[in-house]
Symmetry: C2
Subunit: 434 residues, 2 copies
């Protein structure tokens, strides 16, 4: 007997009429007594295999009756095109093989489970069709990010996670680092990205970042992935053009290549289909006027809260840049706005549908004296920023960059209620397992 | 006057005959008194701009005389094709603009610097042509990794960095995690990758991993990036075929697209050009015989040291798989070899030219009882592995995977003497800055 031809479910169409073996896990079973149906999943798709009692061996028929949900099996049979089937094929099964039995108490059952139970069983929950679809969309977004920057000549730069103290800032995870004192888990790769932009011109980072904050909202993780491009000689306006091109590229790519998964999770497609440049641009001062008219008590000088952001985006059908915030509301490295030195050349990009900020960006302060003054004003230890200040000492340059939160972007594109579904194994204040 | 057309140096060929503005940093200056030359770099390449005294304004000529190494400038002029120039173009400069002056004490000078000095000034050292070339090759390898897996239907899975205790293992960085006790920085994403493979079929991780080990060799970092594919229903043989396809894809991609950078850093191209499948396969037992013949005192049962690895690869012109190590020398999760239960179904892939192990891979133990026995035998706390054991309780499956060390791969492909040059900002036992 010749060795079997193995195929993944998403490859079956090209095997129509052939006999192949598919391996996967049982998701559904039913039988009429003479005809039995096994639905299995293998990560690439879902397949219905049909067994006709008088066309298979008694052993195979008996084995069918012993199958349970999530048993892993190999099923061999003829691939048949069938337009009514999901994926366009079904299998006329001839042989079954049990690889790994699954007891009847498989934790995830076709009923409502509480979120803590699902998160405790994340290793199983990930197998459900909705979670598989989200992970496939996340993968598409990640590959699209790399493709976008690669096609445009950016160099990816992996910035360090373990970093030396840059002042007593709150929200830092720390660890002992040999004889060097404490190391801190990076909250951003940006400062390193700026150094790399002076070497490589256009760079981006893609890595995990950490916030030891006691936030328990549906938009916060303690460990999340950030993408931080930094471009030499870009000013704030160019920075925003890059952001809208980037974000719309990601959205359109998912619509093109992951439409089936978006539909699987019940995503309405009309909103993302509108996400094309140019995005709206709104000065911070005008944003304050707008939200005050709508009843917000936020005053000029304050940072915007989640509710303020929702009030702003309600008027718009595409994402909105809120630009040029007051200096005091933003980080020390943002460049002073020459047109209004109370403000800085920055932007927050607010997603549609109330998903809030997915990008924070700015032109960077390239004036050595102004940067030193800001660092001192914030009470940060100047000596820790020595190498960062070097970038302004030797051949300082106009530059700008931004940070995109990956999980917020996944949640927005997928239309998820909570960010915990946007990452394989979420880390939150009370969640360190599995 | 119309606004200037900005271009990066690598785009200039398409602007031949046009007047454009290039922004970058000065690397070389020379003048004959009537003709002056400025060489600048912008991360995408290097450009020589030629100024003829009687064809530029007196202000521009004066400005030239004030330029210093690493000053950032904008230079405007006509792009001229010139086969003798690097990149095939030079510029007939008409205007100069100084963006950021650089004092004469720029730390990196055209002379020999000690390695500690260079590492202390990594933010400047990265600007040197050799380091730029290495970073561009690293970027190519990273994109090639993503492309390889994307084209083959793998789903990227970002596994957590912060993980709960999995036993008192050595070499772990730890941090306080709210009220949950200590969290540990991941040494591997594999266990999570196995859970994800049961959901998604074929997955890979791509992230930083951490080892708090007091190693000071030229092959060790405390923070390094790992790529860990995991494939449902792959056995050890399929796992090795995937590895050789993967590694040769990366090498050939660099030869195709980063040949100029490889030549820039003086890489001999003949060895990588030979890195095509099939790689050599050598059973551990045969490897022991081979190295003992060559004088090694390593005995059957020992792990192989760096010197042993060098003795092995010396006989081969392509990478070598050493397979099926003794159980005691390897991790608990590797599958027992049915043909010789003293050994496990694993492989280390040894690179050519003495670069040592770049991959460790194995089929995973899918038998619940055997895995429990191994965990207990190693003295690991069984309760910490509860969710991992679940993968064997419910629908266990044949699966295999491996981990590729990114920096070792970059060092090997680039032919670097020390791994510290293979990553933008290296972390080692005594190195936490910049």
């Amino acid at each position: 007997m010749s060795s079997p031809t193995f195929a993944r479910i998403d490859e079956l169409k090209s095997h129509a009429g052939q006999t192949v073996t598919v391996r996967g896990w049982v998701t559904h079973l039913r039988s009429s007594g003479k005809v039995a149906f096994v639905v299995l999943r293998d990560g690439s798709g879902s397949l219905q295999a049909v067994l006709v009692k008088n066309q298979v061996s008694p052993e195979t028929w008996t084995l069918f009756s012993e199958l349970t949900q999530e048993s892993s099996i190999a099923v061999t049979g003829e691939v048949r095109l069938d337009d009514r089937a999901p994926g366009g094929v079904e299998m006329g099964a001839k042989e079954l093989e049990l690889i790994g039995r699954s007891p009847l108490d498989y934790p995830i059952q076709p009923k409502e489970h509480g979120i803590d139970f699902l998160m405790d069983n994340r290793h199983f929950w990930l197998r459900s069709p909705r979670q598989v679809a989200i992970m496939r969309i996340r993968n598409e977004i990640e590959q699209a990010i790399h493709d976008f920057f690669y096609e445009r000549g950016f160099i990816r730069v992996d910035t360090p996670i373990l970093t030396a103290a840059i002042g007593e800032r709150s929200g830092l995870f720390s660890t002992e680092y040999f004889d060097e004192g404490n190391a801190y888990l990076a909250q951003t790769g940006q400062l390193y990205g700026e150094a790399a932009a002076a070497a490589l011109g256009k760079i981006y980072t893609f890595g995990p970042t950490f916030r030891a904050e006691k936030s328990k909202t549906r938009r916060h993780l303690t460990e999340f992935w950030m993408i931080e491009p930094e471009v030499a000689f870009n000013d704030s306006a160019a920075n925003m053009r890059l952001q809208e091109d980037f974000v719309s590229y990601l959205v359109q790519r998912c619509l093109e290549r992951r439409r089936a998964e978006l539909l699987e999770i019940g995503r309405a497609l009309a909103p993302p289909e509108r996400e094309k440049p140019p995005f709206h641009r709104l000065d911070y001062t005008d944003a304050i006027t707008l939200i005050q008219k709508k009843g917000s008590e936020t005053k000029w000088g304050d940072d915007l809260g989640a509710e303020d952001e929702s009030l702003i985006v309600a008027d718009y059908d595409r994402p909105v840049f809120v630009m040029n915030y007051p200096k005091e509301a933003k980080a020390f490295y943002m460049k002073e706005n020459p047109a209004d030195p109370r403000t800085v050349l920055c932007d927050d990009l607010l997603a549609t549908e109330g998903y809030g900020e997915i990008i924070g960006g700015s032109q960077r302060e390239d004036d050595y004296d102004k940067l030193v003054a800001r660092i001192k004003h914030e009470g940060l230890p100047i000596e820790a920023y020595d190498w960062y200040l070097d970038l302004r000492r030797y051949g300082t340059f106009v530059h700008a960059g931004f940070g995109l939160g990956l999980e917020r972007t996944v949640a927005w594109i997928c239309g998820l209620q909570h960010i915990r579904e946007a990452i394989p194994f979420a880390r939150m204040m009370h969640r360190l397992r599995p």
